[in-house]
């Protein structure tokens, strides 16, 4: 398939230069390997555009696949359809003003994004966080991980053909939404973490619903296992599909469950522990096969581990303040704001100027989000706005893996492999 042929047929009316370069790049991929091109007498070759408005691509992912019959010869991934320039926005906002934007990055696990930003700001500005806030954040992060993995599970099994399963996982997600509603006051975009702590304490009602969830959810996991672990169709669709070899995994830059499914136990919670992950016990599940089924096992075990972490957090949850009591570093509590003049002035100053890390300071802090390593690099110029804020998004790195993983697979497996990698385009496109 030559570029000129594609160009003649496509006649793109929009972003002409972009389309041309994309098809050119597709043509150039692996050119050293093949080029025994004797035309295409059987006309089995075609270029297939999948996305950006394809329901199975989990957002606005665009794949350009060159097919030979049903096999994908090579593939290029085109992203950027959801690019909002949040790094540019961040440079023009104070740190806590920017925090709600992080909800909209990986919108399947907003809590871990909030925590990722806040821990990075706390690191650069040397903010002490009270013990209780650490544990509340951990509970929130692990709930977010379960919620995100449940969506992955539902959609991936749906991509493999079982539609009703999606409803069952969403039943459980709905419970997590309700818990988030009780913790933070929002179901979806929670914005619960604050620089220096969290917005409000866990109420008894919220705690009761968390406890109930922790009790009932393991039964659900058991049911999922019952349904899938010996399911012939599920195995046939996932086993040896989308294989990432162990020796390629580090070079390809995979992160999160995709990397752990190839055998590397790289988990930021163990690599450089943050919050209080040092004080709880959990395992980092790994597999060696690197295929879609291995990713399924890794994520399922991670959900069980998350439940284990939440249980320990509930047991250890100390009493005390939930936000640091320093007017230069965090918002004062609402009691103080409403009933004292100083409190109100501090509240105003925090909103107007915000927290000011020292001039020239730099910090990078990463957390293990459900998708992998989510890191925030911040460089400060001494004002309330970051000079540079860089988001190291796990979906972005995993999509690069996807581009090379798809080569040689069957076109019918594309959606399953995308489901297995579990990208969120809001995060990958920033």
């Amino acid at each position: 398939m030559k570029l000129t042929d594609i160009q003649d047929k496509v006649q793109s009316s929009f972003f002409k230069e972009h389309q041309k370069k994309l098809y050119q790049s597709l043509e150039d991929k692996h050119t050293t390997v093949e080029e025994l091109d004797d035309g295409d007498p059987l006309t089995t070759k075609m270029v297939l555009n999948m996305g950006p408005q394809h329901p199975a691509t989990h957002g606005v992912l665009r794949l350009v696949l060159q097919l030979d019959g049903e096999t994908i010869e090579k593939c290029k991934v085109d992203i950027g359809y959801l690019h909002r320039g949040v790094e540019k926005i961040a440079e023009n906002k104070t740190y806590q003003e920017f925090m709600p934007y992080t909800d909209r990055m990986d919108y399947l696990s907003p809590y871990s994004n909030n925590v990722a930003l806040c821990t990075a700001v706390e690191k650069i500005a040397n903010v002490e966080v009270p013990e209780r806030a650490h544990y509340i954040r951990m509970i929130g992060c692990e709930l977010a991980r379960i919620s995100s993995h449940l969506l992955w599970l539902g959609t991936m099994v749906m991509d493999a053909g079982a539609v009703s399963f999606f409803i069952w996982t969403f039943k459980e997600r709905e419970k997590i939404y309700d818990i988030m509603d009780r913790i933070a006051g929002h179901r979806f975009t929670v914005s619960h973490a604050r620089v220096g702590g969290v917005a409000n304490d866990i109420t008894d009602e919220a705690m009761a619903s968390i406890k109930e969830f922790v009790e009932t959810f393991p039964n659900e996991i058991r049911d999922y296992h019952k349904l899938l672990d010996r399911n012939r169709i599920f195995f046939d669709r996932n086993e040896a599909v989308g294989v990432l070899k162990t020796e390629d995994a580090l070079n390809s830059g995979a992160t999160g469950p995709v990397l752990r499914a190839t055998g590397y136990p790289l988990d930021i919670r163990k690599f450089s522990p943050y919050l209080r992950y040092n004080d709880v016990e959990f395992k980092v599940p790994t597999r060696l096969e690197g295929d879609n089924l291995a990713r399924y096992y890794v994520r399922m075990e991670e959900m069980s581990e998350s439940i284990r972490i939440i249980r320990q957090c509930i047991d250890k949850l100390p009493t005390g303040p939930i936000r640091t009591d320093n007017a230069k570093q965090a918002y004062p509590s609402k009691d103080e704001v409403y009933y004292s003049m100083e409190g109100m002035i501090h509240d105003f100053m925090m909103t107007d100027t915000g927290i000011c890390p020292p001039d020239g300071a730099e910090a990078y802090h990463a957390v293990e989000s459900p998708k992998g390593e989510l890191g925030y690099y911040i460089q400060s110029d001494g004002t309330g706005h970051p000079w540079r804020l860089k988001i190291n998004a796990p979906s972005f790195t995993n999509l690069q893996v996807l581009e090379n993983m798809l080569d040689g697979e069957m076109v019918a497996d594309t959606v399953v492999i995308i489901g297995g990698v579990d990208p969120v385009l809001g995060e990958a496109d920033k």
Partner: protein, 170 residues
């Protein structure tokens, strides 16, 4: 300023200063992270050395910073992980404002490809020997580099083609 380095970082810094004595320009720490500023011309050699000899096998990220200074305006940072001894190292290089160019490290870590495309897209820094240097977020038809400090937050009107709001009545 004295540095508080873990054992592996100490080894790293010593090995780098030994092997590339005049290429390592500065070693400093900020908020507990270690940054090594090196000469831009030998970045590929240093990266090879870091990967082969010092086990920095995993490239987590590459990003750029617009320092907005008259000299050496752009800074590119490599975020490296060593899994053998849990360490994170930041390698920095600087380049000039006029036609900024760097050597690509895709030969050392293939995963650098998309990260370098992102730096190119956002800051206009070219990477020599990059296999597929295209824009990644913005379309190729876009002519500006949005994360440079002089680019306005609201964008430049007319810089990007928008779809017709009435596609049927062309």
């Amino acid at each position: 300023m004295s540095l508080e380095l873990s054992e592996h970082l100490q080894n790293t810094v010593e090995s780098l200063t030994e092997t590339f004595s005049d290429k390592v320009l500065n070693v400093y720490q900020s908020s507990g992270d270690t940054f090594v500023l090196v000469d831009a011309d030998s970045v590929v050699d240093i990266c090879k050395h870091l990967k082969k000899e010092l086990h920095y096998v995993y490239l987590s990220d590459i990003f750029a910073i617009d320092r907005y200074t008259s000299e050496e305006r752009f800074e590119v940072v490599y975020n490296l992980l060593s899994l053998k001894n849990p360490t994170r190292l930041f390698l920095k290089v600087r380049c000039e404002e006029e036609s900024p160019e760097l050597d690509s490290v895709t030969g050392v870590w293939p995963s650098a490809s998309w990260n370098e495309r992102e730096v190119f897209d956002m800051f206009g820094i070219h990477f020599r020997n990059h296999p597929d240097l295209r824009r990644i977020y913005m379309p190729e038809d876009f002519q500006y580099y949005p994360l440079r400090k002089e680019f306005p937050l609201l964008g430049i009107p007319g810089s990007i083609e928008l779809p017709s709001s009435t596609p049927d009545t062309e």
